[in-house]
């Protein structure tokens, strides 16, 4: 009964969203002035939440007459994985997408904004249209409530072992909250173009909604990277996988949007840029949703491919993107204004920022779609990987870091190169000192490494100095300072980690000791154990310092998940502020020794700490604004 109720809930929600989407479009004489669509939006949200809750209940009670539950859960699965296995495969994860969109719509509907009245009704109509599209997609092609009564298996097929990790509990919901949150910016921009209304007040309000979505997206991407690092067994943090790129592209344009809105709010300029970026960011979110589920690109991340679903999403994506971008093409002309700033100014820095981020996004897009393009033109099969992306990102990030330093210190409207250089001369000296120190203390003398580190240190120093100079005005610039330092810290983490990391792939027998980083790892024990849904081979390694004193013990495992017959590596990590020691246990070799992979990963935690600083910056900004009433 419950699965059928779940499907019914979705159908009712679809009906309400079709109503909310279409009624605001009717000419005023066909509807009452007083008719508000808000109750329908609340109803829509309620029914989607109900459907989601029912699916979760089916997982918790292990109702295997529902096909989706049978394929992604088992009675032996711990309760917290059973609750989250809801989003373990395509049908449930798209329901999660829709649920999160409902929650965003709920908040947007309930909150008092600057757009109350006609504009807001139109925005809600746009959002309902998106909601309706996805609900129809679920009902017609991806129903998670499908029943399957013929199964004779005693238990479900278990959640994919790769997903049985704490990272899985938080990464998808948070990432989706970010991804989906840009729908609000999209709706606002769409209505702005439609009604040819956009001003500094709108920009200010839009900026806040964008900040929240961006913060969640940053956090979501960071969690994904952290999870992959722990989970995949060889300590990589980013793979330029098509699905990773799909989340990174909206992040890049989302960052550009945030900065463009600063200029829109404070100087009343860059309206066209802001609106275009708002449209494009959500379009990229939709593109990402398409890429993951359609089977167009292979990826470790991708859900099972099904061309029928792919066709539907592509059609839906096309409708939304074509409508919005055609609207942009037709209407954005009315927003163009004469340029009110000089060559060297904060505006120019931010404009360059927009351009750089746009170029970076296009680079990622090209790299992701290039294999497909090659195939279409019959130029063979090609895969585009890290070498391409790194080659383009490295120099552009260097330029971006330099721009961030100078841009943050530049004055609005007019500044001069000479005065900018004068402003940053102390920090520059500091950065140069850091480079020289680095060159002397490590064995690395690569120019790229030193320039990268130098620019990151320059940015950190410059931001901190700016904070000091601000005196009592520091709460106002604290968000920017935190976020920029966050970027520099992440950049520093990436540069140092990629240059100085070290791997040892060896065969060890018991009581062997091997040097890794500044420590020694001693292999002391290995044993078998059985848990609820897996068997494990666990090794024990003692980490000793240079004098032989015991610091900690690490226990990497090799797990065999019985129901899916899948082998998994569960690495053990010793974390310190400046490096991680990462150990993965391999197979037992024919001579009784074990294959072991040990990694020394300097500065890896800095990468994610930087992301957290960026999110902290947003939180401070929202706190600063919380005194004001309406947004």
């Amino acid at each position: 009964m419950i699965p059928e109720l779940g499907l019914l809930s979705l159908v009712i929600a679809l009906m309400f969203s079709i109503l909310s989407a279409s009624v605001p479009c009717w000419p005023l004489r066909y509807r009452s002035d007083a008719l508000s669509i808000k109750p329908w939006l609340y109803a829509q949200t309620a029914f989607v939440l109900l459907a989601y809750a029912l699916l979760t209940a089916l997982f918790i009670t292990s109702d295997f007459t529902v096909l989706y539950v049978a394929e992604n859960s088992s009675r032996l699965l711990p309760w917290y994985y059973r609750m989250t296995a809801v989003w373990g495969a395509h049908e449930g994860s798209i329901l999660l997408w829709v649920t999160i969109l409902s929650l965003w719509i709920l908040v947007f509907t309930a909150r008092k904004t600057v757009w109350e009245g006609e504009p807001k009704e139109k925005m809600l109509s746009v959002l309902s249209f998106v909601q309706a599209g996805f609900l129809a997609f679920i009902i017609f092609t991806s129903n998670p409530f499908l029943r399957y009564f013929e199964s004779k298996l005693p238990d479900g097929q278990d959640l994919n072992p790769l997903l049985q990790d704490p990272g899985f509990l938080i990464h998808p919901p948070i990432l989706y909250t970010g991804y989906v949150g840009f729908a609000i910016a999209f709706a606002v921009a769409f209505v702005a173009l439609l009604t040819q209304t956009f001003n500094q007040q709108w920009a200010r309000a839009l900026r806040i909604w964008t900040q929240v979505a961006w913060a969640f997206l940053t956090l979501g991407i960071m969690l994904g990277s952290w999870w992959a690092y722990r989970e995949l067994g060889w300590g990589g943090f980013w793979f330029w996988d098509p699905v990773e790129n799909a989340s990174f592209m909206p992040w890049l344009t989302g960052t550009a949007l945030l900065h463009s809105l600063v200029v829109s709010e404070k100087r009343g300029q860059f309206y066209s840029w802001s609106l275009l970026l708002a449209l494009i960011t959500f379009s990229l979110s939709l593109l990402g949703t398409f890429l993951v589920r359609s089977g167009v690109l292979t990826s470790v991340h991708a859900f099972a491919s099904d061309p029928a679903r792919g066709i539907y999403i592509l059609a839906f994506l096309s409708i939304i993107v074509f409508t919005s971008l055609s609207l942009f093409a037709a209407q954005s002309g009315s927003f163009s204004k004469p340029i009110q700033f000089e060559m060297v100014s904060k505006e120019t820095a931010l404009l360059s920022n927009n351009l750089i981020l746009f170029v970076l996004m296009s680079t990622v897009l090209l790299g992701t779609l290039y294999p497909l393009m090659m195939q279409m033109l019959n130029w063979g099969k090609l895969s585009v990987g890290a070498p391409y992306f790194n080659a383009i990102f490295a120099p552009m990030m260097a330029i971006a870091l330099a721009l961030m330093t100078f841009g943050a210190r530049a004055s609005w409207r007019e500044d001069s190169f000479k005065s900018l250089c004068a402003k940053v001369k102390i920090e520059f000296a500091l950065a140069l000192l850091a480079c020289i120190l680095l060159a002397v203390t490590t064995s690395l003398h690569s120019m790229a490494f030193m320039v990268g580190v130098g620019l990151s240190v320059l940015l950190i120093a410059s931001s901190l100095w700016q904070l000091k100079l601000a005196g009592r005005g520091f709460p106002r610039i604290l968000p920017m300072v935190l976020a920029h330092i966050g970027v520099a810290v992440t950049a520093l983490g990436i540069i140092v980690n990629m240059s100085l990391n070290h791997e040892a792939d060896v065969a060890m027998s018991l009581n062997d000791v091997i040097q890794i980083g500044p420590y020694q790892a001693k292999f002391v024990d290995v044993r078998n154990r059985t848990e609820s849904n897996f068997d494990t081979l666990t090794g024990t390694f003692q980490i000793l310092d240079s004098r032989g004193k015991l610091i900690t013990s690490l226990e990497p495992e090799k797990r065999y998940y019985r129901l899916r017959r899948q082998l998994m590596t569960d690495a053990a990590i010793y974390t310190t502020p400046f490096r991680d020691i990462y150990i993965a246990l391999g197979n037992e070799l024919s001579d009784g020794r074990y294959g072991v992979r040990l990694y020394d990963k300097p500065f890896i935690r800095w990468i994610w700490t930087g992301c957290l600083l960026m999110v902290l910056g947003i939180m401070v900004s929202l706190y600063n604004r919380s005194e004001k009433h309406v947004y």
Binding site: I280, G295, V296, L297, P307, L369, Q375, M376, G380, K381
Partner: protein
């Protein structure tokens, strides 16, 4: 041709959507072999039934050879085996080389004696080095080699009547 900058986003998106639409018509799992049209890698493996006898590339001369990679632990191979036995009867000019991949030799011999042996030459690749040289990533896989020892075609997966007609038959006249 001067297009207003406002129109560039929509034009780009139309191009991307067309590209993605094309992508939907393709199967991303199909991976062409890097060896096609190149000489087959040199190998020398022990005969499955006689440890002293060794078989190498020399058998490719003067014949079209079907190289089939299989294993006793591979369930799809068992499905394919029926078709292979039928095919053997209708293709007298074709020479057959069976590579037993990462398997136990005893079990391989039992498999062939119970289910029938369509291979003119049967060898064992116990550690997978042959597989690595030929770019094999699973079983069953089948290669068609021409009289000069060049790889004509590779199919990854079970071969049936339809696939044989579509992909292999054209090479053997």
């Amino acid at each position: 041709m001067c297009i207003k900058p406002n129109y560039w986003p929509i034009i780009t998106c139309i191009i991307i959507v067309i590209l993605l639409g094309y992508g939907l018509t393709q199967d991303p799992r199909v991976l062409p072999s890097a060896l096609e049209a190149k000489p087959a890698p040199k190998f020398e493996l022990t005969d499955l039934f006689s440890e002293k006898h060794k078989i190498s590339n020399s058998i490719f001369k003067e014949h079209y050879t079907l190289v089939n990679i299989w294993a006793s632990w591979c369930t799809p191979c068992r499905v394919e085996h029926n078709f292979l036995t039928k095919l053997k009867k209708v293709q007298p000019k074709l020479q057959w080389l069976g590579i037993n991949y990462k398997d136990d030799v005893e079990m391989a011999r039992t498999y062939l004696s119970t289910l029938g042996n369509p291979y003119d030459y049967a060898v064992a690749d116990e550690d997978g080095t042959f597989g690595m040289a030929w770019g094999i990533y699973g079983t069953p896989e089948t290669f068609l080699i021409d009289k000069k020892g060049r790889v004509l075609h590779r199919h990854a997966g079970v071969i049936n009547e339809k696939i044989w007609k579509k992909e292999f038959a054209q090479y053997i006249r």
